[in-house]
Symmetry: C2
Subunit: 107 residues, 2 copies
Amino acid sequence: MEGDILRGHLDLLVVATVRGGASHGYAVIEALRAQSDGLFDPPEGTIYPVLHRLEAAGILASRWERPGRRRRRVYRLTDRGERWLADSGERWRRFSRGVTAVLGGAT
Amino acid sequence: MEGDILRGHLDLLVVATVRGGASHGYAVIEALRAQSDGLFDPPEGTIYPVLHRLEAAGILASRWERPGRRRRRVYRLTDRGERWLADSGERWRRFSRGVTAVLGGAT
DNA sequence: CTGTTATACATAGCCTGCCTATGTATCGAT
DNA sequence: ATCGATACATAGGCAGGCTATGTATAACAG
């Protein structure tokens, strides 16, 4: 990956993939890779702690499932998570506009 | 400011402002604040180490100036810095497209 | 049936880099 | 004289993404 470029934006990406249908940790990783066309490919050691943190913050909620014999922790957005996602999306757009403005015609 | 949201992108922003005419550290801070419409307002303790790091990396070069009696460290882009800026601008656009793609219609 | 790969989770510890706090010095305005 | 703005610098805190490692189940190749 490209350094720590996700720093500060990873929570948003993870919540967005859960919102978009990625129900458990492993699926989040695959969704990020697929939807970013291979650009984002975070290791498991990055994603699982993020999911725990987001659950502790009340943004996600989880329950265990076992579709075969293998267990999965399945996540969904809480109401608070929905609001958080909307706010964070707006924050991202502001940030992105800010960077673009600073870059200006320079590049 | 909004947490560590600049993490991983600050070097790009600083180099872009120098490229855009901000010749010394204090001016970089003001340029970032002005050009981002107040969104980015990094403290001096953030910017000066960045400038030192960028100079050590051969991206910027500096010399001392004293327009009055007060000294300034005046920066310019090296040739390598010009190339680095072009590459980093491209990296930023890829990153931005990636995030937008992951957000999808979700927000 | 054994080894390898994919699926699925988890945590300890490292390291980067942005921030807070603090210090120095010059200059204009009050 | 004092305060704010200008201008530089560095030490130390700390969040968070990454590496490394460990567990377990399933599928498939040879």
